[in-house]
């Protein structure tokens, strides 16, 4: 059931890291990273600042040397290779477009270094600019571009070299929200067109969720969890993973046993069944459970209970309408708080403050966290 799969199914990984570590003086930035990047995927390094995601990406790019471990690209050792010799290109956080060159010359920069013939360069640059929809701005100066336009040029400049792997270092961090969403869609489209493998670094879970084929969740220099966005969201393996992605209710619990293939747990919200079953669970083990607010449904006492395997009675203490959704904070008799979320109805809210309600959630909604 664990999502920590290292080897890929039959597919040759494009990049493989084994035991990769990095120290800055006495500070350990990365420890023992084992990771394979699959051909054609968008792999996201996600984590809070200081988790090592940027360092890991800079090692792949060649701007940092790993202190230990190995780094292979299609089976060839890359550790001794300077950045300019690696078939990898990067989109920098603040774009790093050369201010003394115009858009065209920025995109042509790498091709000129490769000594491509002029006609071929012109074709390629035109093609790239067309792809990022900047073909009308080829002669603009970098200082005349908006953030979103700079981003497109940076992307075109990196992709012009036909890299085997494209690294994107928080490319949308400097953009405002609306453009960010638009650019995410653009990134996905461009990745579809070029079929280039992307490594995408971000601290923004939404970006990661929207864009990624797989996500590497990092924390304190280690990989916390590796999996598809769905796996990370619904089956977090640790407290950190559960809290980092989305909102959730975390409750302590104790393992009681098995029933119909479910784990039975007991905690402040009573007895609860969970379908996810981490390996190595033992009777009476102390664990945590995570229940996403949107998986909890609310119903009035009159409407009856037990529509799901898990249920509990609580009182509504707070109602927060947030745009398209409503978050109810409820309190159980023993003082435990649970938050539930529903879609906001177009008319008046059906539930009121202080009202007693039933909370129900399925066994699939419960994730058991062992760390």
């Amino acid at each position: 059931m664990s999502t920590q799969t290292i080897s890929t199914s039959g597919q040759e990984p494009i990049v493989s890291m084994r035991g990769l570590g990095k120290k800055f003086g006495s500070f350990v930035a990365l420890q023992g990273i084992d990771l394979d990047v699959r051909e054609g995927e968008i792999l996201t390094f996600l984590g809070p600042s200081g988790c090592g995601k940027t360092t890991l990406m800079r090692i792949v790019a060649g701007f940092e040397d790993p202190t230990s471990g190995s780094l292979d690209l299609r089976g060839a050792d890359m550790r001794r290779l300077p950045p300019e010799k690696r078939p990898i290109n990067m989109v920098f956080q603040r774009y790093a477009l050369f201010p003394h060159l115009d858009v065209f010359d920025n995109v042509a920069f790498g091709l000129r270094l490769k000594k491509w013939p002029v006609a071929k360069i012109n074709d390629r640059v035109g093609q790239m600019l067309k792809m990022v929809q900047m073909d009308a701005m080829a002669t603009r100066w970098i200082t005349e571009l908006s953030g979103g336009q700079s981003q497109r040029v940076a992307l075109a400049r990196a992709l012009a070299n036909e890299p085997q792997l494209l690294l994107l270092d928080e490319p949308l961090a400097a953009l405002d929200l609306k453009i960010r969403h638009h650019m995410l869609a653009e990134l996905k489209r461009i990745q579809n067109e070029t079929r280039t493998t992307f490594i995408y670094v971000t601290h923004d879970q939404d970006e990661a969720m929207i864009l990624s084929t797989r996500i590497v969740l990092m924390n304190q220099g280690c990989i916390e969890q590796l999996g598809t966005p769905d796996e990370l969201y619904f089956q977090p393996v640790s407290l950190f993973a559960a809290k980092f992605l989305g909102e959730t209710n975390i409750l302590p619990a104790r393992v009681r046993g098995d029933a119909d293939g479910d784990v039975v747990l007991e905690g402040p919200a009573g007895t609860m069944r969970a379908r996810s079953k981490p390996t190595g669970l033992t009777e009476a083990q102390e664990v945590h459970v995570s229940i996403r607010p949107e998986t909890i449904s609310l119903s009035t006492l009159e409407a009856g209970s037990a529509s799901d395997v898990n249920g509990v009675c609580a009182e509504i203490k707070q109602i927060q309408p947030i745009g398209s959704r409503v978050v109810y904070t409820t309190r159980l008799d023993n003082g435990t708080e649970l938050r539930a979320q529903t879609v906001r109805p177009p008319d008046a809210l059906p539930l009121a403050m202080g009202q007693k309600v039933y909370l129900n959630w399925s066994d699939a909604a419960v994730a058991v966290l062992t760390k």
Binding site: A61, G62, F63, P82, P83, E84, I88, N89, M90, F92, Q93, R94, A96, L97, F98, P99, H100, D102, F104, D105, F109, G110, L113, K114, A138, T139, W141, R157, A158, N161
Partner: protein, 263 residues
């Protein structure tokens, strides 16, 4: 409003005395007093006929050119080192590069004199050039420091990432971007060297520099041709600054020219 008038007074204080010198350089009579008796170029003719003045002018130009080039090379390397040095080395390096101008020029002059004497080095334009480089290097580094600090290191990384080696990166990215700043620093050094006299008096050999020659003129006599010499010296300093401006313009032209080629 009061503040504004004060600023004008301040500028008057700065430029008034210079205007006086410039005015009397063109005075027809040798008297340094009003009423003004008409314009004449006689003092300029006199000073330009003085072979020693011309020689000193030539020497100063050589020294200023040599020391500003030396400062430009050492200073550019040092400036590039600033964002790369580890923290503690940087602190030491900052002190070392700043110390020469935190001490009076007198101290630099006598210390260099003592060194040259110990090493048995004969005083010449070479020793003056070294002294001037020592004096202008800290100014150069201080002027380019903030610009270099704001230089985005990811620009160099981007160049490396796109396939440029360290030297190509310097040639295609770092140097073009920093060029106006560095050129400004070199011209500043040129102007400083051209004007330097405090250190020079200790390390100068048989060949005079222009300020040193003017100083000896000033000690000898009160002579209106000193006005003319001063105005010429000042004009040359300003010319070096103007040339700097031209360089800057040319640089932009070239960039724009390349831009049209691509269209």
């Amino acid at each position: 409003m009061l503040l504004r008038s004060y600023v004008w007074l301040y500028l008057l204080f700065l430029f008034g005395p210079l205007a006086v010198i410039a005015l009397f350089a063109f005075h027809a009579s040798p008297a340094l007093s009003f009423p003004f008796e008409g314009f004449s170029l006689r003092w300029f003719a006199e000073i330009l006929d003085d072979p020693q003045f011309i020689a000193a002018l030539k020497n100063s130009t050589i020294v200023a050119a040599a020391s500003s080039v030396m400062t430009g090379i050492l200073g550019t390397l040092a400036a590039l080192a600033l964002p790369r040095l580890p923290k503690r080395s940087l602190a030491g390096f900052n002190i070392l590069t700043f110390a020469p101008i935190a001490l009076p020029g007198l101290f630099l002059g006598i210390a260099l004199l003592a060194l040259f004497e110990r090493l048995g080095i004969y005083r010449s334009l070479w020793t003056v050039t070294i002294a001037h480089t020592l004096f202008t290097l800290p100014f150069f580094i201080e002027t380019v420091r903030s610009r270099v600090a704001y230089f985005d290191a990811s620009l160099e990384e981007a160049a490396r990432d796109l396939g440029a080696g360290p030297w190509t990166t310097f040639r295609l990215v770092t140097l073009p971007i920093l060029f106006p700043t560095l050129m400004g620093g070199v011209l500043l050094s040129f102007a400083l060297s051209f004007d330097e006299v405090v250190i020079t008096v200790f390390v100068v050999g048989e060949k005079n520099t222009l300020p040193f020659y003017i100083l000896s003129m000033m000690r000898r006599t009160v002579n209106p041709s000193i006005n003319a010499a001063s105005v010429l010296a000042m004009a040359l300093s300003l010319a070096s600054l103007l040339i700097g401006g031209l360089f800057f313009l040319l640089q932009r032209r070239r960039a724009q020219g390349r831009r049209t080629e691509n269209e």
